[in-house]
């Protein structure tokens, strides 16, 4: 007797419907992923085309000429370098060490909960607020004046909570069983951290720190309030044009200036400035990825 039961593996309407849903879901996700890439490529391509007439090595190492209407961006490039290096030199050690304390030593009590709360909230403070704080605290109260020191300290305060958060995450990724094994054989907390925890979280810690480079390089508000200037006359190509108590130029600030504040700038100059800023940041990020890949290949469990 024939029954209505279809043979095994037959393509019933229900199977067809599931396959169709599956194909649709895949298509939707793919489109979204593509939609993400398109603007990136479009932006970079557009910038490159517009910047082409000015882009050259000469553009990076030359100083601005004719009231910034021509010439290069060397003072701004070096200024950004100063700000990034100095602010990370301040924020990275403090942030990493604080994170180690919070993750490895701190016990759960009201004081450490307060610190955690502060870190989380500090990470969410808008940069313009940091700028105002930097102006009040470093420029006026601490009497550093409008200077590279003030600007770097402001940037450091801004990046600190993010470095703490990323470092804690890296530390937390080391299994607790490793720590317990060390404690069981009579190792102190520091010996445990030094011998097992740090070697296995250093890649994550470094990546977190390096990713802050792009953030500090791109910020305009905090340095505008505390130490960046429109123009500073320096020698072409010199590596140490500024003292730490000087004000300096910076790429992000320079981009703003040549785009909106100076009339009759050569059209390609703002775009070329943007390309240099973008290129430097991408270069640093690429280094971060390389370091991470290298360290991950050495990962040991």
């Amino acid at each position: 007797m024939e029954t209505a039961v279809p043979p095994r593996f037959a393509r019933t309407p229900s199977v067809a419907r599931r396959e169709w849903t599956q194909a649709l879901a895949r298509a939707v996700f793919f489109t979204m992923a593509l939609a993400m890439v398109v603007p990136l490529i479009a932006i970079v391509a557009y910038l490159l085309v517009r910047a082409a007439p000015s882009l050259s090595w000469e553009f990076i190492v030359d100083v601005p000429r004719k009231g910034m209407r021509e010439g290069g961006i060397w003072p701004a490039f070096v200024g950004t370098l100063y700000l990034v290096v100095l602010s990370l030199a301040i924020a990275a050690p403090i942030g990493v060490l604080a994170a180690i304390y919070l993750n490895e030593y701190a016990r759960e009590n009201w004081f450490n909960r307060l610190i955690n709360l502060a870190v989380i909230n500090l990470a969410g403070v808008p940069s313009i607020v940091h700028a105002l704080f930097g102006l009040g605290a470093f420029v006026y109260a601490a009497r550093f004046g409008y200077s590279i020191v003030s600007a770097s300290l402001t940037l450091a305060i801004m990046t600190l909570p993010v470095i703490i958060a990323s470092t804690r995450e890296a530390l937390a990724s080391v299994p607790r069983a490793f720590r317990e094994a060390c404690w069981n054989v009579g190792a102190t907390r520091w010996q445990t951290i030094r011998g097992v925890v740090l070697p296995n979280s250093i890649s994550g810690i470094l990546t977190g720190v390096i990713l802050q480079v792009s953030r500090t390089a791109g910020e305009t508000a905090p340095i505008m309030f505390t130490g960046a200037v429109f123009f500073k006359a320096v020698q072409r190509g010199t590596l140490f044009p500024y003292r730490l108590t000087d004000q300096c130029m910076a790429l992000s600030m320079h981009l703003y200036t040549v785009s909106t504040q100076v009339p009759n700038v050569r059209e390609s100059i703002p775009y070329a400035t943007a390309i240099v800023l973008l290129g430097s940041v991408l270069l640093v990020n690429a280094c971060a990825i390389a370091v991470r890949v290298w360290l991950r290949n050495r990962k040991r469990w």
Binding site: A181, A187, K299, W301
Partner: protein, 252 residues
């Protein structure tokens, strides 16, 4: 020194407000293999963690009563790291540290301040031999401890626990992650070690306790149900009905 290796007197342990060990007392003489059996959640592991005070790392845990290890109250011990070196601890799941095999075993001596290469070499070889692992790894001591198989990692863990020359070796269900052959090899090792050190063996394998232990303690819900010579505990007529039921698998 004479006197028992371990003596507990009215030991009570609580996590926050929840008491998990309700005032137990027992003694373990030197050079005994002492087994602790009992179902999950009966406080066996917590008890071990009181002995070397790694319970301190658990949030909200506190214990009262006296726990005397090698004649010293663990609450009053000055150098808690020396106490932990005196009590070797092997966890249920093998933990190879993400270091080389050599460094895994040399970690504890180094932490204790030993840095002479020759001394370390000797310790590493002795401990790996004692843990029945030397022949398998002697040609790749620089290989990663985490790259070993589960059974090898468990023997590496035992070698590490022996590396700080403990007087008491605590094994917490050391065989749940390894195969029977390796288990038997380690049991042989334990029998050999008995002449030098005291061994506390927490196990869920009733057979294993019967094979190895001179005396066995049956714990249930944070209390000692029975503590007697293994022949008695595992016989047809132990002192307590509950012991019989548990040992013969009719618990419940």
């Amino acid at each position: 020194m004479s006197g028992p290796a371990i003596a507990a007197e009215d030991l009570r342990l609580s996590y926050g407000t929840r008491e998990v060990i309700h005032g137990i007392s027992f003694e373990v003489p030197r050079n005994e293999i002492f087994a602790i059996i009992g179902p999950a959640q009966s406080g066996k592991t917590s008890l071990l963690r009181c002995l070397n005070r790694t319970i301190d790392f658990t949030l909200g845990a506190a214990f009262s009563g006296r726990v005397v290890v090698d004649g010293v109250d663990v609450h009053r011990v000055r150098d808690v790291y020396a106490l932990r070196r005196k009590v070797g601890m092997v966890a249920p799941l093998p933990v190879g540290l993400p270091l080389s095999i050599y460094d895994n075993v040399a970690f504890a001596p180094r932490a204790a301040g030993l840095s002479r290469r020759a001394g370390l070499d000797a310790i590493v070889e002795r401990c790996l031999r004692q843990a029945a692992l030397w022949d398998e790894v002697k040609d790749r001591l620089n290989g990663l401890g985490t790259a070993l198989s589960g059974g090898q990692q468990q023997r590496l863990t035992i070698a590490r626990a022996l590396s700080h020359q403990p007087e008491i070796l605590c094994l917490d269900e050391f065989s749940i992650a390894i195969d029977p052959v390796t288990t038997m090899r380690i049991e042989d090792v334990l029998r050999q070690l008995q002449s030098e050190i005291t061994i506390v063996l927490v196990t869920n394998l009733v057979q294993q306790a019967r094979r190895l232990a001179g005396r066995t303690m049956f714990m249930w819900n944070g209390e000692i149900v029975e503590l007697d010579r293994s022949e008695v505990v595992f016989s047809e007529h132990p002192g307590q009905r509950r012991t019989h039921d548990y040992v013969h698998g009719v618990f419940g």
